[in-house]
Symmetry: D2
Subunit: 412 residues, 4 copies
Amino acid sequence: MGWKRLLEEYRRVRSFSEQLCKPLAVDDYQIQSITETSPPKWHLAHVSWFFETFVLTPFQADHAPFDTDFHYLFNSYYHTVGPMHPRPQRGLLSRPTLTRVLEYRQQIDEQMEALLSREPGADRDEIAFRITLGLHHEQQHQELLLMDIKHNFWANPLRPAYRDDLKQPSGEAPPMRWLERGGGVQSIGHHGRGFAYDNETPRHSVLIYDHRLADRLITNGEFLAFIEDGGYREPALWLSDGWARLQRDGWQHPLYWELRDGQWSQFTLGGVRPLNLHEPVCHLSLYEADAYARWAGKRLPREEELELILAEQPIMGNFVESDLLHPAPAGTRSQWYGDLWAWTASPYAPYPGFRPLAGSMGEYNGKFMSSQVVLRGGSCVTASRHLRPSYRNFFYPHERWMFSGLRLAEDA
Amino acid sequence: MGWKRLLEEYRRVRSFSEQLCKPLAVDDYQIQSITETSPPKWHLAHVSWFFETFVLTPFQADHAPFDTDFHYLFNSYYHTVGPMHPRPQRGLLSRPTLTRVLEYRQQIDEQMEALLSREPGADRDEIAFRITLGLHHEQQHQELLLMDIKHNFWANPLRPAYRDDLKQPSGEAPPMRWLERGGGVQSIGHHGRGFAYDNETPRHSVLIYDHRLADRLITNGEFLAFIEDGGYREPALWLSDGWARLQRDGWQHPLYWELRDGQWSQFTLGGVRPLNLHEPVCHLSLYEADAYARWAGKRLPREEELELILAEQPIMGNFVESDLLHPAPAGTRSQWYGDLWAWTASPYAPYPGFRPLAGSMGEYNGKFMSSQVVLRGGSCVTASRHLRPSYRNFFYPHERWMFSGLRLAEDA
Amino acid sequence: MGWKRLLEEYRRVRSFSEQLCKPLAVDDYQIQSITETSPPKWHLAHVSWFFETFVLTPFQADHAPFDTDFHYLFNSYYHTVGPMHPRPQRGLLSRPTLTRVLEYRQQIDEQMEALLSREPGADRDEIAFRITLGLHHEQQHQELLLMDIKHNFWANPLRPAYRDDLKQPSGEAPPMRWLERGGGVQSIGHHGRGFAYDNETPRHSVLIYDHRLADRLITNGEFLAFIEDGGYREPALWLSDGWARLQRDGWQHPLYWELRDGQWSQFTLGGVRPLNLHEPVCHLSLYEADAYARWAGKRLPREEELELILAEQPIMGNFVESDLLHPAPAGTRSQWYGDLWAWTASPYAPYPGFRPLAGSMGEYNGKFMSSQVVLRGGSCVTASRHLRPSYRNFFYPHERWMFSGLRLAEDA
Amino acid sequence: MGWKRLLEEYRRVRSFSEQLCKPLAVDDYQIQSITETSPPKWHLAHVSWFFETFVLTPFQADHAPFDTDFHYLFNSYYHTVGPMHPRPQRGLLSRPTLTRVLEYRQQIDEQMEALLSREPGADRDEIAFRITLGLHHEQQHQELLLMDIKHNFWANPLRPAYRDDLKQPSGEAPPMRWLERGGGVQSIGHHGRGFAYDNETPRHSVLIYDHRLADRLITNGEFLAFIEDGGYREPALWLSDGWARLQRDGWQHPLYWELRDGQWSQFTLGGVRPLNLHEPVCHLSLYEADAYARWAGKRLPREEELELILAEQPIMGNFVESDLLHPAPAGTRSQWYGDLWAWTASPYAPYPGFRPLAGSMGEYNGKFMSSQVVLRGGSCVTASRHLRPSYRNFFYPHERWMFSGLRLAEDA
């Protein structure tokens, strides 16, 4: 990417973070509802810290840190960079104030603009790579922002809406169709010149087995049939860990669903809405997705199966740019990208020959390759330009606060 | 108290709450560092809720609630009034925003002003009593505000100062003198016409044993001798529960002390300061106070012993009005009131013949009469007009975030 | 007590411990159902350790320890004697085996017999005191044994009976009568030459207020009325800590009660029995006792009130020697001693002028004087010769596995 | 397997369980040191319950259960069979006593003998399959017995030896050699007529990448170099979950190692022994194995890589029949089977086309296919006749009480 286009992209991505925060009151920036989430203020500072740490500090001459304490406060998990503020206590940081965090962002932006306005030198490629990485990093945090805000607001008994002006998705879910997919040795993993995370590499051969893929996600209506058939009360449908979690936390339905006076509703970024049976079912753990698939006599797709079909499709769908911030019924359009991250049956593991990035940036992906599971395809809170067919998202099997959904597969 | 003086007192107390919050950033209002503390925003709303619930709702004609949700959100522990938001989750309430909470305060104030401007009727005494109770309640929360802000800021690794303009206490601690106090059947408990909480009544006879009382609090310097003598490593000095707590939480010194490079410092509302050996030792649990007394070959005073001597003294000392917000060396003045709440040896229990207030206001005191211990005398964050000789403060024996200190006694 | 009578008493008490264990299978000796209980095997060893540590080691010439590891394994809480095995892990000690523990007991008995067979010397009084203390200590552990066995067996879904041959108490509970008791300065605390624990001393004056005492304990039938009136659902009846505990643990009735198909039953040392409405209600926490008293418009007695009346009564009642091991209906007999320990309103605190025993034996009582509450009068699992009018038992207010009951009092 | 040989195998396997328990005292049968382990008594009963539930109940005419309670008490995790006693409370079951459990075993054995002595009917194959499954099940529990006994004894500060007569392994570890292994599409999974668990099926194609395999396990000496190089203090070497676990539990070395006065020792089933640097390093979590591999610049093998080489080797090695009960130095022999289960890099997941067994026996394997990792090759506490090249063992990545070790691999 050219130096100038990089600067444009930098401005675009950075300003979108601020745009996402516009509906927030100062009070909202401070909330961390559970350990897994972070306060919006922390996100805004951390993504700036990323540029300061990995771009400005090494590549800006005489870089003077905005605040030396920030190095400790806004490091997320880069042990090789130094010690860090404990994650569960991010919500206790009333200082630095939001005002000061915004000043920080502004200064970083000014310095980044300056860096990108100078004549490129020998370090040009490395800088461009790191900035690109930083922008993808910030886009990930934009998705986290929306996930976290949703959970923060849901933890408030008032159930406030993040935005009152969101349009509700319309349309219906057509009958599910099954695509026949042939097997054999094929190739997956990132290739070409564009950006990718290290965990998408190297491109390598995989053995595919003949299978069938559903062309759309499972809907609320379909999932309700599972619930009404006693799906949450039948241990034979569940992975052992899933059943233990269900019992421990009293799961009876997906996160954000509520049953009152016989009516189902669902908390969304637009507030509480009646459950729309045509929308894809959302905020499932892997355990719930897997139990549904077992109940339906099917299975979850493998990540390589999804990557191969994603590679055949245009990257189009209900992304964050649609400004619905909620999954939409499939309607007549294809439902391969967007709407919801589809759980796969694939544990998150290194590809054959995987090498993490050198240095601290190698902590980005590789060290999380245990006990998590891959999801594919992006969601209604993902930036479309952030996606690739080879993109591997990953969460623990019990987690539910991300925009996760369920697509079925079966052996041929 | 006359209707007009009550209005003046109302204005005075209410505006002091806002004055205390002036040094806070919006972000600071949201923090709840531990379950025991509450966010400043919550305090501001709760004390207003108290007036709305116990004064306006019953006595204002056609009272329309400011917000019906507030009844649930800002009830602290009045089960008889209805269900309430769980205490540990007060820090998650970004909504209502601070702005809206301040509007709430303002509307309550306007309605209270109106109530106090009308001609008093037959309910005059009851209203006056409840307003007086509400003002004492708010004064308690002003003390809690300062306790909680101190802990919130300490939980931040930046250790920000609540105020940069606080004067540091000066002076020295004179040698401790022992007052001989005779025994016999005497009377304690509230008497006279002034306001008192129900837990200070009825006035009743108690049997006093001959004893001696120290005329000042134990200092940091004296407590340091205990530490340096291995006080925190010698189980024989500790109550069994205290030793278990010490080991569980790794106590090695009072809360807010820190040892770095051989130098002791102490976190205060004015930020981190070098430890002043002449100041009274502060933020002790009962266990630490009791262990010190045992080490010194003395004991803690009983609450009746302190009440009797307090009743002989003017209510003067280092209170919140001194604006030090920190205990001061005794110097030449008497150190009976203010500076620090003195732990007593007395479990918090009902007086013979105790009757809680009728109705919900009866939940104010009586239901806490188990496993807590009485403290007496007020502190540097207590309003002087809030104090009485018969005033009984109480905390659990392991708690340390209040401004608690230690005075010795011994049997004659 | 003479040397010879002491030996007889030693034999009597020690053999009773073994008699109590006769109904146990080897497997039963190993169980620790909750942290508060200890495996029967551990009790048997610990009481022997007490004699070894406090009598044989200091007073037997050339005492060679049976096993040096036992000093660590069977120390309960005497920090001044050395480190100890963590209490929650007592149930993990399959070694030493029961066989070896019984050998240990036997060797200690032989050495104690030898000690008591030699000519008494100058240390005679100290030895006699320590042996007497050790025998009272063992009697306390006999009571704990029965408490713990009951809980251990209840934790087993088979609900096995400790003994199949226990007689069931018979008789009825007569109407409750109220005794008028006058006030004034009176004396309590141990006096005379007999043995007492340090916590019963010194004898001292107390101020008594006019009051009334119920002449029997509250029955299952009376307590059932409290339950059926919604007593476990009404927070206004409960101490704040009690209500929190009730909610945390889901209390709906006393420990060991069970409601199945509309019928109440109760687990006893003789197995599950239908609830006898005439028996005293048993295994209450202080919180439940206090809530009942509040519901009944009465209060719990103070410990001094009970001591004074106990001092007027013969030490007779349903003790462990009755071999019912369960409280019995009051019938026509007096119900001051035995059946159940009566909760008092008195926090467990030192008497004025209290001095713990010197040295390690001082850890016996004093260090527990915080957050616990006094119970009086002995129970159906207490040895009658272990009791005195001044005897102070104590437990935490939430504990329920001891044989605790409820007697009402009221102000005159 | 013929009916008669099956009976012989039944006798052989069943009697071996009892032989393994011979060194235990009755007390030892009761211990459950951590939730993951079970008391030996429970193991003995559960494996008998398996035969009763899955063989005798369906196939023995007029089967009368030995004790109807056992169905609840000794069900491990078969939800489809009915509710079960909670796993963490197995150690509380003093009843049924060991004596009764042994009677149970005996009766099951008599009934099984009778069943196997009758003329086989149409259900012959199903019965034979279930008995074979039951015997493999019991062999797994024999391994668990030794794992659990080791942990139980280690949890005792006396560190008793399970057996005093165990021979210590001798010999040295030769230099590690690397085997070149070619890639391509190959087949793994069970084939042929012999018994296998459902999780080893179906046999299927896998894509193998060129790689190298170490011909022996990593030794204590080699692992010590990792420790001395700061391996447990360098987060960059660890998976994120592993580093969190290390910090939470304070890991500084493998389980059962101890450093005292500069000397390393290791707890074994033969008691505490000096650390033998030539023995394979034992009782590693996946996290430790993975960190070592990263430190060494290598990786863990994939399960298919190990299966292919195991299929080429005779099933010989240091198994439970060697009666060392501890891993031995590789010496001159091959170290592919036995000694220690080798961690692989492969999450435990279903094979393509996997179908669990029908009915309750389908709960044996499939439901555990999340968050666990595969180990291969058997160990010094595994029965050699229990092993197959396709055998998949699995544990959570943080678990360490099994006999797990570490073999290196690298990409070619």
